[in-house]
């Protein structure tokens, strides 16, 4: 069984994003970029399924600028077998990403596609669900546990009221939440080995997908800034402040 894992190159989660002064977007020039944290979790899960003998090949795929090769190399160093870069300088929206992934899935026939639940740049939380709809397959979003048995996968999901478990017919789509696993660090020998693993290069046109944006960003602004207030010196002062605010217990 093959597992496909889409990974996105995004601003590193430790970096505080800065809005460009002209309001045209967020400044990502000279900023540390990494694999989307949820996608690392997705790669880790796929590699673990392979290590457990449930899968025989893990393919990482990324859509983006040539630099996205870096995150694909990371995926290979973590244990993916090969990678596909679908190169474009354009910003590709989740709907178009899902369409490209549909075309990749049609070529590769994966039984399982594990994505991150959301990309921490656009925070859309859409791509996996859209892909599932486009290929008419079931989805286990926000997964904290994935168990394959035969022709089904059982997914435990982090939902607003707790943990929900669903059983899905394979092929299926899973999107990874934070507690699914803790991704490994790639070891140096594995980073070296990853350099020799195959990486295909394609373009959206190769798949016949129109990536024209549907949403036009008119403006990107800083959120209203919150001023730091004051520090109080004791619990008594805090109690007095809270009472002044009308908090009474």
């Amino acid at each position: 069984m093959k597992i496909l894992v889409p990974v996105k190159r995004v601003i590193d989660y430790n970096v505080k994003p800065r809005v460009k002064p002209d309001g045209s977007g967020v400044d990502i020039a000279n900023v540390k970029m990494s694999m989307n944290p949820f996608d690392e979790i997705a790669v880790e899960e796929a590699v673990r399924l392979k290590e457990a003998g449930k899968a025989d090949e893990v393919i990482a795929v990324s859509i983006g600028a040539p630099k996205s090769k870096d995150v694909l190399r990371t995926a290979l160093a973590m244990g993916a077998d090969r990678a596909i870069l679908i190169q474009t300088e354009a910003e590709v929206e989740p709907l178009a990403v899902a369409k490209i992934l549909k075309a990749v899935a049609a070529e590769e026939n994966p039984q399982l596609i594990i994505l991150g639940k959301q990309a921490i740049d656009d925070d859309s939380n859409q791509t996996g669900q859209m892909l599932a709809a486009l290929i008419d397959r079931p989805q286990g979003t926000f997964a904290s546990k994935v168990e394959i048995d035969g022709d089904h996968v059982t997914v435990t999901r982090e939902v607003d009221d707790g943990l929900e478990t669903v059983k899905l017919a394979l092929p299926a789509i899973v999107t990874a939440d934070l507690r699914l696993n803790e991704p490994r660090y790639a070891s140096l020998p594995n980073i070296m080995k990853a350099k020799k693993k195959p990486m295909d290069e394609k373009t959206p046109e190769d798949y016949g997908v129109d990536i024209t944006a549907r949403l036009k960003t008119l403006k990107v602004a800083e959120p209203p800034v919150r001023q730091a207030g004051e520090k109080v010196g004791s619990v008594d002062e805090l109690v007095a402040k809270l009472k002044a605010l009308g908090v009474n217990a």
């Binding site: 999901r157 009221d161 478990t165 403006k219 800083e222 008594d236």
Partner: protein, 311 residues
């Protein structure tokens, strides 16, 4: 414009978040509400939805296939109804996030997630980069598919409307997925996303027992909901549905008390719209103090019990 709103309901009652979503939808066009569910509970929820001020019509789709809101079943139902609508609007809850993108993809529409405001017929603001930037986006699609951040809109009045209820024909079970179970965390406390006061604990709380001993009495005293940072949830102090943040719940209470939480941007993303923020942390340089209205530099194991006692 006519807008179809997906109603979130439980035990025959409409959830508060739907009231906020109705307010957002009403800024786009005339609101019709869709109640998908099963049996008595669904009919009761439809009755309740019909009383929401601003709802002009309720569509009731009652079928066993909708009992657990499986997206494989519910999305085709919605897609089938969309010929008659210009927009589909859901709440940005785990349920709405699960279903709406499936609808959008089938309609070949780029979804607009988690909107904060309606700026024009097809123009909206939404947070990106964990709320570190706010984008104003305009859709060029023929129809709109939107999810709404509940805390950004006032709740519509739950009573006052008298919409007609129509049955929508059910599409049945896709056979692709089935519901196995829900492990709900039981709590008598106010709901985290709608509570007026939230007391949240972080990694500093040591373990589940300590979390319970320190945070719960303060929350009880204040009639507050309990929240947590990701670090606290990961360490098993409390279950995942208490997590506040970029990838947890978004809260905006009157008062948010952060106890032993450093203030990582991912946590701030979930609570920085709270009216008053109080932080208790022993590190005076903790980033949480940069946004707190009232800060107390202290050891929480002394300060919190003292505070609980003195309130």
């Amino acid at each position: 414009m006519t807008v179809l709103v997906l109603v979130e309901h439980e035990a025959g009652a409409v959830k508060d978040v739907t009231l906020s979503t109705v307010t957002a939808a009403a800024k786009i066009g005339a609101v019709h509400a869709l109640v998908a569910g099963e049996g008595d509970e669904a009919s009761k929820a439809a009755d309740a939805a019909a009383r929401i001020a601003g709802v002009e019509k309720v569509l009731l789709a009652s079928d066993a296939a909708y009992a657990k809101m499986l997206p494989e079943n519910v999305a085709p139902l919605i897609t089938g109804l969309m010929d008659g609508y210009d927009a589909f609007v859901a709440s940005a809850t785990s349920n709405g996030k699960n279903i709406a993108p499936r609808v959008a993809a089938k309609l070949d529409v780029m979804q607009i997630s988690d909107i904060l405001s309606v700026e024009g017929e097809k123009t909206f603001t939404r947070p990106i980069y964990a709320g570190n930037a706010i984008a104003t986006v305009e859709s060029s699609d023929a129809k709109l598919v939107i999810t709404v951040r509940g805390t950004a809109f006032d709740k519509a009045e739950a009573e006052g409307g008298s919409a007609a209820i129509e049955n929508a024909s059910a599409e049945g079970d896709s056979g692709l997925s089935s519901f196995v179970g829900l492990e709900a965390s039981e709590s008598e406390r106010p709901d985290l996303t709608s509570a007026k006061i939230v007391v949240s604990g972080g990694r500093a709380l040591k373990d589940a027992e300590t979390f319970e001993q320190v945070i719960t009495p303060l929350a009880d005293k204040l009639g507050a909901a309990v929240g947590a940072s990701r670090a606290a949830v990961d360490a098993g102090y409390i279950s995942n549905d208490y997590q506040v943040g970029q990838t947890g719940k978004i809260v905006a209470p009157e008062l948010y008390i952060a106890v032993g939480i450093s203030g990582a941007i991912q946590h701030l993303a979930g609570m920085k719209d709270s009216k008053v923020i109080v932080a208790i942390n022993k590190d005076e340089d903790a980033p949480i103090f940069q946004i707190a209205d009232i800060g107390l530099v202290a050891d929480l194991f002394e300060a919190v019990p003292e505070l609980t006692g003195k309130l």
